[in-house]
Amino acid sequence: MRIFKTVATAATAIALLVTPAFAQDKPVVGLVMKSLANEFFQNMLEGAEAHAVERGDYELRAVGMQNETDFESQINAVENFITQGVDAIVIAPADSKAMVRPIKKAIAAGITVVNFDVALDEDAKKEQGLELAFVGPDNRGGAKMAGDALGKKLGEGAKVVIVEGNPGADNATQRRLGFEDSVAEYKLDLLDSRTAHWETEEANQVFSTMLTAHPDVQGVLAANDSMAIGVVKALENAGRSDILVVGFDNVPAVGPMIEDGRMLATVDQFGQKMAADAIDLALEVVAGGPALEGWVKTNIKLVTAE
């Protein structure tokens, strides 16, 4: 794999030398993705690749990782892009603190950096004296949209449980906070909140047990759709059709569930477009546009049967 990469890089370098005029026309964008084992990021990468072909006025170099917590290889990827002298780096950080230092290095090297999907940690940025805009969805806001849909339907005082993502992961925390915002707003009764590590089978087991302990539960807030699927299967097994489920991500597998009412809602954050949008923003800056500031929120949308 590494050999392949080296060869590819070398080939690119030779191509740059041979056709300088052509190469100089096109800015190079380095895209640093999170785990490609995750369907969401896989879709995002495909979206970016399609976008590059469609625009045709820039060269895309994408790097993914083996798993969600493998931020070592992200750091290496950023450093390689610095060495290659790319024009822009568009990055979805695997760790909101660990990635601050390499990104600062890239900016010092004169590269335009756009941080998308997961925001870098504010404190870590301050500590390193780094100012960088964030392009991405509002996970907390999105979760609140789903939570609100549930709250509206169930009304005040309804009993709900949360199925969380990986403890410690930034998007898991944001989504949990969003759900909790809805719980507070609609005065819902939160019976229990547990992690199922983003996993279908585990969500199925954990939720079945929660259902036993709280048979009077009325609604379930799942931090992603994989877990929502596990919850739906648990409800089917228990023969309960009176409990509402909301999820997050709008993966294709939940489409039929929303249609036939087994799920109330999910949230689409247009993952497929997210990387492409961030690349557009980066290219604008590279072309001499003004620097990005603050939080550039990307589209999110509540998906329901209506």
Partner: protein
């Protein structure tokens, strides 16, 4: 294999079998204690719904653990079962969503594809580690990555869904409150018990775990025996994959991460020695129950996730310490 602390004088038979009863009863008693504890602390624990839940929840782990018992009995380990299960699920998922086929054919094809995928992965584990005499720890660690990568590659990292409803019904069917998938797991356990205790093959696996060289010199094909143990383990991962699909109506390429550790834990808690040669699938059955009851009961009594994880860890360590004493007392 050393026998330094053992007396050279014969030990009477009655004392041995009495100890054997105590040894096996030990795990059962621990399980009974857990059940008693949770039934006193949670009103829901002994409800029929919850019992159905527990049986469903231990099904996959039990199937994986039974296969793992074969490998651990010969002194090996298989770290790849979680990934192999995901790979098998993806292959079976591709098969079951093929167009233009009858439902029965699709389901049969998917089951066959899943089990065969697992079986082939296990076969590779066995052939490679036995042929070059390499530690199975390393080989199966490699397979863990290969199978996971293959699962992601074949599925394009996308969850496969929309299976025939007959297949899904099988995953949630109950007979007198007992999940059919659990009955499948129980049947596999009984077959494994029979194979290990009543066949020449089983006897030789125990022999290999105790003294591989003695078995080889006695004219047995140790290579193929070891390959068979790994192949059985892989096949159970394939069966677990089919059950996973039937239960959850999806096949996810990221399913089963860390399942191998739960399976190993069930085997070890069940009293099978990591060094090989000693243990039983009945112990594994009890071990899987202990893990399942613990996971279920701790949620019911409202313990938080982090405490739950810690307590599961403590139970594994206590089980291994108990195993140490068991080995010690059965030796002297």
């Amino acid at each position: 294999m050393t026998s330094d602390n053992r007396p050279l004088e014969p030990t009477p038979r009655r004392a041995l079998s009495f100890r054997a009863i105590i040894n096996n009863a030990g795990i059962g008693l621990a399980l009974l204690a857990l059940i008693l504890f949770f039934s006193l602390t949670s009103e829901f624990f002994l409800t029929s719904n919850n019992i159905t839940n527990i049986l469903t929840q231990i099904t996959i782990n039990l199937i994986l653990a039974v296969g793992m018992t074969f490998v651990i009995l010969i002194g090996g380990i298989d770290l790849s079962v979680g990934s192999v299960m995901a790979f098998a699920a993806v292959v079976a998922g591709k098969a079951i969503t093929l167009p233009d086929m009858g439902i029965t054919e699709l389901v049969l094809l998917a089951c066959l594809a899943g089990v065969m995928t697992g079986l082939i992965c296990g076969l590779l584990n066995g052939v490679i580690s036995a042929f070059w005499g390499l530690p199975s720890f390393i080989i199966t660690l490699g397979m863990l990555n290969i199978a996971r990568g293959a699962a992601l590659h074949v599925s394009d990292a996308k969850t496969i869904y929309s299976f025939p409803s007959a297949f899904e019904n099988f995953g949630s069917a109950l007979i007198y409150g007992v999940p059919v998938v659990f009955l499948v797991a129980l049947l596999i356990t009984l077959i494994a018990w029979f194979v290990l205790n009543w066949t020449v093959f089983g006897r030789l696996l125990y022999g290999i775990g105790n003294n591989e060289e003695a078995v080889r010199l006695a004219g047995h094909q140790v290579f193929w025996l070891k390959v068979a143990a790994f192949t059985i383990c892989g096949a159970t991962a394939g069966i677990a994959a089919v059950i996973y699909m039937a239960r959850l109506s999806i096949s996810s390429p990221i399913a089963g991460i860390g399942f191998e550790l739960n399976a190993i834990a069930a085997v070890i808690i069940g009293g099978t020695s990591l060094a090989g040669g000693r243990g039983s699938v009945i112990g594994t059955l009890l071990g899987a129950f202990i893990i399942g009851v613990l996971a279920n009961g701790l949620i019911l009594i409202g313990l938080n996730d982090f405490m739950r994880q810690m307590i599961t860890g403590v139970v594994i360590i206590v089980a291994v310490i108990l195993d140490y004493y068991r080995a010690k007392y059965s030796a002297s």
